[in-house]
Amino acid sequence: MSEITYKPGKEPHPRETRRIFKNIDREGYDPSIKCFMKDGGYQTLKKCLKMEPADITNEVKKSGLRGRGGAGFPTGVKWTFIPKGNTKPVYLVCNCDESEPGTFKDRFIVHQDPHQLIEGMIIACYAVQAHYAVIYMREEFPEAAKIMQKALDEAEAKNFLGKNIQGTGFDLKIVLHRGAGAYICGEETGLINSIEGVRPYPRIKPPFFPAAIGLYGCPTIVNNVESLCQVRQVMMMGGEAYAAEGAQRSPGTRIIGVSGDVKRPGVYEIISGSITYGELLYDICGGPRIGRKFKAIIPGGASAKVMRCDEILKDRNPDGTVREMTIFDVPMDLDSIAKFGSMSGSGGVIVMDDTRSMPKVLNNLNRFFAWESCGQCSPCREGNPWMYKLSTRICEGKGSPEDVDLLKSVADNICGRTVCAFGEACSWPTQAFTTKFREEFLALTKPINALKPHSAETAEARKFLTRED
């Protein structure tokens, strides 16, 4: 294989390991099938098509590959959830609705290296014996939709798609389905409803676990773009080799997107757990801008709980002793940050420096969640606009100290009580911001803004109205 060179200014950082992103910003590389095949593309598929489908699933299980959409569920295990003895068609859906703020990894794959995804999808479809697959692409990627459609046509012309693929008797049709600008379509059952052409309300689970009752009521596997590319990587390397690399419980490479207040924001592919947040932000991203200090980090997409940079985190060593550290010492794998109450989610790291007002950051997030709530279930539909209105009022200096507690309490009332994980996604930021940066919120409030009972009698009457339980 020839030496890989990258476009000027787009060279990978030495601490990166480019696997999925091997061809991103590569000199002389284009999204055509010719380019992809010259580089060994579709060879893995050919190998896989000679295997038993169950063996591919086993290989993926062995690799320990975990989904890259945010929840981190083991991909191979997900595939085995298709009911035994199923007689209905099986569908595979590629979730390319990349919409978690702070996450911007899949866009590079679908714009610059679409065949990598297609190959991964075909392998996955073969493994679960799906003959119909859908790429659900967000509406904000119109160029990618054109590139992807062209790539699908090319793959079909070369008989990697269509009837009797490579003479194996395996048929597969992949349809590109575009969304229309809704965050909720990133939720897998919302996404399935969007494909079915109904309002993309997430479905209740149980009973609507997609692997059992998914698209058109049939077993459906929903995987993220990066996950499917990783599947190809697993089959290329072998499950054991894949599992041997990186963090034990989340092996392989991870693509991290860094945005916000760092010198060099961008996307970086690293071996999972091979570096810490500190190394990512200082070494790879060049640290804070001149004259500024890091203040807070949202480690895994907008819905992850924010971490203070000066927070002392206590971790237990294997020998039982307690080790004190900060966010900068936490390794970048899928689980380490979860020990400290946040999550590494979809790998979108948003950084804020000391010039930022945290209430304003939260207000921006609250606006996002209020705008994106689908409105199906009561707590989310009514709670999100309330949180947004509250944080706006606090930011405008019209809040009282009680409003800060109220804001947190509204979030508590949403969390864990909704149809889908959006309830957690929207309440975690508020819970974390108001707890960890409480003093900043209080500083914006004035006790005089508190609502006063009209008279002493009303105050007395309220006491009777309030329940005691």
Partner: protein, 246 residues
């Protein structure tokens, strides 16, 4: 009487927009029906409703937006009901119920772009377009300039967070956008429009010439019926040439 429509009638109340002059009016043509049928065929049999978003996207590409007249037609095409289509159209912010301008600007306002200064671009773009920022509301997030050339919408995350502020103009994404870059983009848009207009004018002129010629030929044909065949032969290739030119 200009009563404000009730909340239900508002679903199909037309929202006039200066952008309409840059797009054809919604019309059901055999080509449009064929395209819709082609999109329906992408999905398994009996699942025509799945094509509702693809058909909406196509309508939006052709006509700029989903007008009230389009909704029942879309419903018919994907074997659904108008209220169902209305439920879809009113749900997704990516589906316009009002015609955007010739150049539709989408400015990301979500956290990463906001940290990079995305929201500060909005008033600037508004002033360049000649619209009031206060016109952008939750219910009507899109503003269109009086000349119909521009429209602006603040949107949520465009998924290019590391390179904010991000602005999408029609299908093209611009990242790390500054005021200066906005000026450049708008200048380029204007240039594109001028080129398009010039081309359209030339095409129109040619078409007119072809029409004149055909008319003359027809007149000649009327007087000299014997030359009937040669006249049509002469006119035919000319007519075809016009659209083929590009």
């Amino acid at each position: 009487m200009s009563e404000t429509p009730n909340a239900i009638d508002a679903i199909t109340a037309p929202i006039s927009s200066p952008g309409e002059k840059f797009f054809p009016k919604f019309e059901v043509t055999p080509e449009l029906v064929a395209k819709a049928q082609e999109l329906v065929a992408l999905y398994p049999e009996g699942k025509e409703q799945s094509a509702v978003l693809p058909i909406i996207h196509h309508v939006q590409e052709e006509f700029g937006y989903v007008s009230p007249e389009a909704m029942p037609w879309i419903a018919e095409m994907c074997k659904s009901t108008p209220i169902h289509v209305a439920g879809i159209v009113t749900f997704y912010p990516g589906i316009h119920r009002k015609c955007p301008g010739k150049f539709h600007f989408r400015v990301c306002r979500t956290i990463a772009c906001a940290l990079a200064g995305g929201e500060e671009l909005l008033p600037y773009i508004c002033s360049k377009m000649g619209v009031e920022p206060s016109e952008m509301t939750d219910e009507e997030p899109m503003v269109v300039s009086p000349d119909g050339l521009w429209s602006l919408e603040a949107v949520e995350c465009l998924a290019n967070c590391g390179y904010g502020p991000n602005v999408m103009v029609n299908d093209t994404l611009y990242s790390q956008v500054t005021r200066g870059k906005i000026d450049e983009i708008m200048a380029a848009c204007k240039k594109e429009l001028a080129a398009e207009r010039k081309e359209a004018a030339a095409a129109k002129k040619e078409a007119a010439a072809a029409r004149r010629e055909a008319k003359a030929a027809a007149a000649a044909e009327a007087t000299e019926t014997t030359e009937d065949e040669s006249a049509t032969k002469k006119a035919a290739p000319k007519k075809k040439a016009t659209p083929k030119k590009k």
